[in-house]
């Protein structure tokens, strides 16, 4: 039995919620993770994966970046037996749409229930709670935790109820009711209503929250809420159980698969070279965190595309890497490919420079949008390389001693 290989899309158009998937998979003992940018999807590096995950962000930007080739590769991947898991923006992506560039991804006959020709009245007038979507509008009737309940089509066990947070994800109506694994059951004390409760109920309750669409040999999982959110353990477990169920692979690592398949271009660096790379990472991530922390409470935001980016978001990426640094530092050697080695050193050094630049721009009331765009691009590049480095070396520990792999049975 081969080990499970999961690809996480972290390229253009993503917000930071893919980091929640990283935390989830690491906690579950899934270490064979591949971090993908738009080029790797377009160049079909996904064909060797078992699972492809696309989380939240700007659906249109994601579609734009992946393009027609990316769309075709995703389709082929699922047709060949792959499991696609799309959360929020990743759920909208493969649904039928006439709006460009989403029309390159019309893979599943699932309709959005929070779609309307005319906008319902917003309860909270300060929120723009809709996006134009073809001829219609997608609107978001609620935010925060909602209640889900599994249907009779999800395993043969008694129905499961759990909560998960909604941040712009869809309510869904599937062409085949047996595709609906969980519905929106209701709301929680933490639910924020952006439209009237009546409209929210009508839009969501009883409609699909988790939909599984079989597609030739594989399937598309569409999650309306963010089941991967770190504070919703039962929702997290749903994802893990689904992966195991679909792939037939448990988390135990199989030595016979070790081969260097995942490490074709990688080699080990040891001693001084490894220490220098780790020290560079620590130094520059620290320098970057320090500046990012100082930006945090300043009244500054940047509008990049359709999304607002706040300084806190910079720290989200940095903290996600920083907290894993200590684990890496325990290694005397590192498995890394030469290109990534250079890319990490360059990206992390440039990140400090750009962050210090933006701080000066902000302090002097100068235009900072260009620098912000550069910073978020650098964060994407750096985080992809960093997590690739991190999980390659996690995986190699596993390769050394599979008995030590930590995993949870559901």
């Amino acid at each position: 039995m081969n080990s499970l290989k999961i690809g996480i899309y972290a390229g253009s158009g993503t917000s930071h919620s893919w980091l929640w998937f990283v935390d989830l998979f690491e906690k579950a003992g899934f270490y064979d993770l591949v971090f993908l940018d738009e080029a790797s999807v377009r160049n079909n590096h996904i064909k060797f994966l078992d699972v492809l995950v696309i989380s939240g962000g700007d659906t249109f930007a994601v579609a734009q970046s992946l393009g027609r080739e990316g769309g075709l590769n995703i389709k082929s991947f699922v047709e060949q037996g792959g499991v696609y898991m799309g959360s929020c923006a990743g759920a909208y992506l493969p649904m039928n749409s006439s709006k460009k560039p989403l029309d390159q991804f019309n893979f599943v006959d699932v309709k959005i229930t929070n779609l309307s020709k005319t906008l319902p009245v917003a309860e909270i007038s300060t929120c723009k709670f809709c996006t134009s979507y073809g001829c219609d509008f997608v609107f978001h009737p609620v935010r925060e935790a909602v209640r889900l309940k599994t249907t009779c089509f999800y395993r043969n066990d008694a129905a499961l109820e759990f909560a998960a947070p909604l941040y712009g994800g869809p309510g869904m109506k599937a062409a085949d009711p047996s595709w609906v694994l969980a519905v929106y059951e209701g709301f929680t004390p933490r639910t924020t209503f952006l439209a009237s409760q009546k409209i929210a109920r009508k839009t969501l309750v009883g409609n699909g929250a988790v939909v599984r669409v079989p597609f030739k040999k594989g399937c598309f999982y569409l999650f309306g809420p963010h089941l991967e959110h770190p504070k919703f353990e039962r929702a997290n477990q749903f994802i893990i159980d689904s992966i195991i169920l679909e792939t037939g692979k448990d988390k135990a690592y199989d030595k016979s698969d070790h081969g260097m398949k995942g490490f074709a271009n990688k080699h080990g660096i040891y001693g001084k070279q490894a220490r220098e790379l780790l020290l560079t990472l620590r130094r520059e991530l620290s320098n970057s965190r320090i500046v990012a922390g100082s930006l945090e409470f300043l009244p500054i935001h940047w509008l990049i595309g359709q999304k607002v980016y706040e300084p806190q978001k910079i720290r989200v990426y940095l903290e996600s890497m920083w907290k894993r640094l200590k684990t890496l530092e325990k290694n005397t050697g590192l498995i890394i490919d030469p290109e990534s080695y250079t890319r990490i050193k360059t990206a992390v050094g440039n990140l400090t420079i750009e962050l210090r630049r933006i701080k000066q721009q902000v302090d002097n009331h100068l235009e900072s949008l260009e620098t912000a765009i550069t910073i978020f691009d650098l964060l994407h590049v750096l985080s992809i390389c960093f997590f690739d480095l991190y999980f390659s070396n996690r995986f190699s520990e596993l390769a050394k001693d599979p008995e030590q792999a930590a995993f949870k049975a559901s």
Partner: protein
């Protein structure tokens, strides 16, 4: 050392630019506790290299009231004695959170450098751009370069670079408790200073009990009436200096406290701005923050107005020179003459008692008499109180105000925090072995 600690001792050799880390073991803490107990041990270990040892008190940076201080231990180039200078404001705490409990700096650098300590990284950085600059300019330059206005610095100014016996190591922009000429020591090593910033986390062996006891002690402290007062005027008046509040009143802005210190021991004087202004001043440098209460009163006794005193104190802080020494030794009475005399002053400033603790701290209880009356008893008490404050990292002036902070409860919290059994016997032994 798992708890209340970063577990690291940093050793920097300025000659070779080598940076090494040693483990801070539980055995070391059980033997030396922390603060100057440990810095004295480290000084002795590396004494052949004339080291500067920076240490953090064992309780520094926690929820124990007034757990604000770190320490500098070094041989004073003026007195020749091993001396201990408290590190206060928010700097003391930042050192621990920057990733090291103790820092040993050996030797001398061939060219001017500063040490940038951040999140467990120690960078020996070229100080060419700030050598020759004043303390304020240097701190501003580093905060701008690093991109963080909360960067904490320990800097020398021209006084230290020029080898003045009265050179101080200043903290951010402000004069410090340094009466030992440590600024001269830094300058001789081509060490412009340190910059610290860190976002660390300190683990606690028994966090709930630690925090609960901290709150109980704080409540006892609050019941002591002196917390109704604020700033340096009440302290000086308690020490018998009359009329200070009226003298300072016209230029007094606000009072601020060091980390977790219940009494606000610092007073800001506004010299070029309306002291009543509450909103942010348009003036970048409207005044000076004063913590050196005895220097302040020395200038008052020279007949200077509070405004002129503030101007001189600001000039001393920028130049990196001990304002008390300037006041005591300059023999001048106008701002212009005093500031012109910085490089020319000479004479001795007496260090009381054994000579190892700074007389920046008044050598007497403040607000509460601690049941002491005899002057010899007071001096012995003061020396012990300073030693204890600097072992555990308690604000040294606050420790003179507050009988509720006892050796017993410091040891109790130290044990709760570290998980080690730290006893009165150990503390007595550590105090006895501190050189001086």
């Amino acid at each position: 050392m798992e708890y209340l600690s970063t577990d690291k001792i940093l050793v920097i050799d300025l000659n070779t630019a080598e940076v090494e880390e040693e483990e801070l073991s539980e055995a070391l803490v059980e033997e030396h506790i922390g603060g100057i107990g440990m810095t004295s041990y480290l000084y002795d270990k590396y004494k052949a290299d004339d080291p500067i040892v920076i240490g953090t008190g064992l309780l520094a940076g926690t929820t124990y009231p007034a757990s604000a201080s770190a320490q500098i231990t070094a041989k004073s180039p003026v007195t020749g004695k091993i001396s201990h200078c408290p590190v206060i404001y928010k700097l003391g705490v930042e050192i621990k959170y920057s990733g090291f409990d103790y820092i040993v700096v050996k030797g001398s650098s061939p060219s001017p450098v500063y040490l940038w300590i951040h999140d467990g990284v120690a960078d020996i950085s070229d100080a060419a751009d700030i050598w020759g600059k004043g303390v304020w300019e240097s701190t501003d330059a580093l905060r701008k370069f690093v991109g963080d206005d909360l960067l904490q610095t320990m800097m020398i100014g021209p006084a230290g670079e020029n080898g003045s016996d009265y050179a101080q190591v200043c903290y951010n922009y402000w004069s410090s408790p340094d009466r030992f000429g440590f600024g001269k020591l830094f300058g001789a090593k081509n060490l412009k200073g340190f910059a610290f910033r860190g976002m660390g986390l300190i683990e606690v062996a028994e966090p709930e009990a630690y925090v609960e006891r901290s709150l109980e002690i704080l409540k006892q402290v609050k019941e002591n009436g002196f917390l109704e007062k604020k700033g340096i005027a009440p302290i000086l008046e308690a020490l018998g200096h009359e009329g200070v509040a009226q003298w300072m009143g016209p230029v007094t802005h606000r009072h601020s406290a060091d980390y977790f210190t219940p009494y606000a021991t610092n007073t800001a004087l506004f010299l070029d701005e309306d002291p009543g202004l509450l909103k942010e001043s348009d003036n970048d440098e409207p005044g000076v923050i004063v913590s050196d209460i005895l220097a302040l009163v020395e200038f008052k006794n020279l007949g200077l107005s509070a405004l002129d005193t503030g101007r001189v104190l600001k000039a001393c802080a920028k130049y990196g020179i001990d304002p008390f020494a300037v006041a005591r030794l300059c023999g001048k009475t106008s701002v212009e003459e005093i500031t012109a005399s910085f490089d020319a002053i000479s004479g001795e400033i007496a260090i009381p008692g054994s000579g190892m603790f700074t007389p920046w701290c008044p050598t007497t209880p403040i607000f509460n008499d601690f049941d002491l009356s005899d002057s010899n008893e007071i001096m012995a008490w003061w020396e012990r109180r300073q030693a204890v404050a600097m072992i555990f990292g308690i604000h040294p002036i606050f420790s003179l105000m507050c009988p509720e902070l006892t050796e017993e409860n410091m040891l109790e919290l130290a044990s709760l925090g570290t998980g080690l059994e730290l006893t009165q016997e150990t503390l007595d032994k550590v105090i006895d072995t501190i050189p001086g």
